[in-house]
Amino acid sequence: MRTSWSVWKSRVHQAGRKLWQSDTGISILIGLLVVLGLTATADQGYVRDEGYYFKAAREYHAWFEELWRNLWAGRLGESFSTATLSRAFGYNTEHPGFVKLLMGWSWKLFHEWLGVVGDATGYRLGSILMNGVGAAFTYLLGVRVWNRSVGVLGVALLFACPHVYYHSHLACFDGPITAMTVVVTYAFLRSLQSWRWVIATGLLWGVAVATKHNALFLIPTLLLAYGLSRLAEFRWTPQWRLSLPAVPLAIFAIAVLGPLVFFVTYPYGWPAPMSRIGAYYSYHLHHEHYPVDYFGTLYTEPPFPVSFPFVMSAITVPLVVLLPGIVGWLLVSWRALRALVLAFKTRTEMSEAGSAAWLLTVSAFIPPAIIAEPSVPIFGGTKHWMPMMPFFALFAAAVVVAACRELAHVRRWGQRLVPVLLALVVLLPAFETYRTERDGQTYFNELILGHQGGAALGMPRTFWGGYGVRLLPLINERARPGAGVYTHRMNYDDFAAYQRNGLLRTDLRFVSELRQADYALTYHQREYQDAEYRVWAFTGDRRPLASVTFDGVATVSLYELRPKAEVRR
């Protein structure tokens, strides 16, 4: 008995050691570290949409609880009736269900049952878990295309970017779709050589499209990258017929399995798939245009400037990631082109390295290119083309790792300076992230000298209303019982969530009419700046009680509303 126990123990030990020495093991470790790190620092204010998603996740999850009760009561069918599904999943149907279902379960498990996280973090954990998976696959992609050093450094640089770090905490879809983009891209790359990954690609794309509609653009992205890598195989036959390379099997898997996964995770669409899922896509085809401030011009309708996503990336990614990232992208593109030329010359199939180079080149370019199209709505800062960032971070990491190798060969002392260089590369952007930790979406990089430069150039200073959280303690301290608070870009659901999470006194009232409030938050968002002007007119005083500022530039201000005394005739 003792012998078999020690053998078993030894095997487990060996398997564990093998796992942690393997890339799979390291990727799991990276994923876990990212999840733990993001969860521990999820103290950002609730952004506008989170209030809606908290509510949706709660309502969706209630359906599972009802399902459980119905199961034991012998009336399971009731849970699947049109009326029940419409009631349970009829809120926030303009976004897919998967992430919200996951948020509901993470809330139930980690907040309600285990009690290890707070109410809001419980919901956010669903999204954070997906970001952990994305980090793991970023590492795996880095290893596949380059090596472990690039993989690890790529993940570090990705989360050292303030915008990425900030959005990765939120109970929203931008972090998860960034994660799923890199997951699907990795799976597609593997699917070119493994039928198992063909199936996996179909299923994972299904998860991606059930995360956010951006996943639809992954299909042309993958096809374009694949087509470019197989360009040498496009040829005219002697009969003047165009001979095409074989369509990758993963595309068929995507076509078959993807919609299935989407359908399963969108219960609102179960009773009437065509009309309800059609309505969801129709909403995004006709999405309203939001205003955006760009170089001092407030754009409210198309055509929007083509340069917007490229310029915004150039001034919001820390310089130490930006410059190597651009160089890395150029080098990989060059590598892809060379592989293509070789394939033309030798009339052979392109190597995996060449295919990977095309895949990365295209994957980093398409997300901003879509937003650059002048009729596409460009609200939301940089988050809408954030799926480019894992690839971009890997490009940067590849250049840095190559630089470290070069440095190691510089005379005798080069080797000793490698850790210093690495530390600078990671710590400089990490410090920027630390500095703007709770307001990362407002960050502008060194090139334009930070927030002051962004404001001076008339760039979008803020959006989404999350950072009012820093001013809530002051309201809690000063407000009389039952005082009304006008919260501007913070919506009612967020207000209620702050109260639920103990960040705002429960006796305070949400007031949507500024003139009836005792306190007003005003966010410095150009298109909504008039709220602050209304405060000035109402009180005759332009002094806020307090503001959240970066280098003197305010992102949100708190006013006490004492109306100016008027003497009636």
Binding site: G296, L298, T300, P318, L319, V320, L322, L323, P324, V327, V399, V400, A402, A403, R405, E406, L407, V410, L421, L424, V425, L428, E446, L447, I448, L449, G450, Q452, G453, A455, A456, L457, R515, E527, Q529, D530, Y533, R534, W536, A537, F538, G540, D541, R542, R543, P544, S547, T549, D551, G552, V553, A554, S557, P563, K564, E566, V567, R568, R569
Partner: protein
């Protein structure tokens, strides 16, 4: 460096990041300097002064001095200085700061010695000729008499006063006369909301007697709030009467521009009346400022 191309890229990035971060940090204004400058300004401040702060995106000066007449615009126009005896210019030497305001003021007024507090500069400019504001429409909203002459023939007093605005009987959520600050032509402007009535109806505002000062100037500007300026359906006509005499007739075009005016009042005291009309009042979030200004 041909042997170390990647290293060169990374070193340039790291070096540039360090240098530019240092520059960024050096451009921050110390809170103590702002406190000292604000204190000095309050000591120097007199009734009839205007405080001008530049650049507009640094909020510290407004947090300290926002109870005083204060402008912190993107663009400063000489007309913005009308009606003030002196201008206290507070300049912050931060990223994007320019000397445009100082240059404008140097032409318009005589500069006193500048006091420097770290990255903050305070200069008093004495305007020549000096002026003072005897009346401001926004400050005296409660003393106005407002009447709505609707297109269907109904004439009704807008006599419900709510804090700082007169509400008209129909559609009072937007049909009122009250103090506002709205963005017009890229800058926040203090003005009085005068949304025209539907279908060519006439909004009539009788100014209090104190608005009239013999031979003084009536100055101000008008425009549509930026939030709706692109949706404005038709121009707005503004007429100003001194008794029976029409002193001013302006048509402000649809769009985001700001129209300024300057008219001279007659010598004999007469009641002043503003009349605002528009053929189509759709999205006409119209706002007008008016001050009586006399030379000192």
């Amino acid at each position: 460096m041909k042997r170390w191309p990647h290293l060169l890229v990374v070193l340039v990035a790291v070096g540039a990041s360090l240098v530019l971060s240092f520059v960024r940090l050096s451009r921050r204004v110390d809170e103590r300097d702002l406190d000292a400058a604000a204190q000095a300004l309050r000591t120097e401040y007199r009734d009839g002064d205007l405080v001008v702060v530049t650049p507009y995106y640094i909020s510290g000066p407004r947090e300290r001095l926002g109870d005083l007449p204060l402008l912190s615009p993107r663009q400063l126009d000489a007309a913005d200085l009308r009606g003030y005896a002196r201008v206290q210019l507070l300049e912050l030497d931060v990223t994007g700061a320019t000397s445009a305001f100082r240059e404008l003021l140097s032409v318009q007024a005589q500069a006193q010695p500048t006091a420097t507090f770290g990255r903050v500069r305070l200069t008093t400019f004495v305007r020549i000729p000096s002026e003072r504001r005897r009346f401001d429409l926004g400050e005296q909203v409660a003393a106005l008499q407002v009447t709505a002459h609707y297109a269907d023939g109904l004439v009704a007093r807008c006599d419900k006063f709510e804090r700082d605005r007169w509400l008209c009987p129909r559609d009072s959520s937007w049909s009122y006369v009250g103090r506002e600050v709205v963005e017009i032509d890229d800058d926040p402007r203090a003005c009085v909301w005068l949304h025209p009535l539907p279908k060519g109806g006439e909004l009539r505002v009788v100014l209090p007697d104190i608005a009239f000062v013999p031979n003084a100037h009536l100055i101000g500007g008008m425009g549509f709030a930026a939030s709706g300026a692109k949706r404005v359906q038709a121009p707005v006509q503004v007429r100003l009467f001194a008794g029976e005499q029409e002193l001013m007739r302006r048509e402000h075009p649809a769009g985001s521009s700001y129209t300024r005016y300057d008219v001279v009042l007659p010598a004999e005291p007469v009641p002043l009346t503003l009349m605002v009309t528009s053929e189509n009042n759709g999205a006409a979030h119209f706002c007008l400022s008016l001050s009586t200004v006399e030379a000192l």
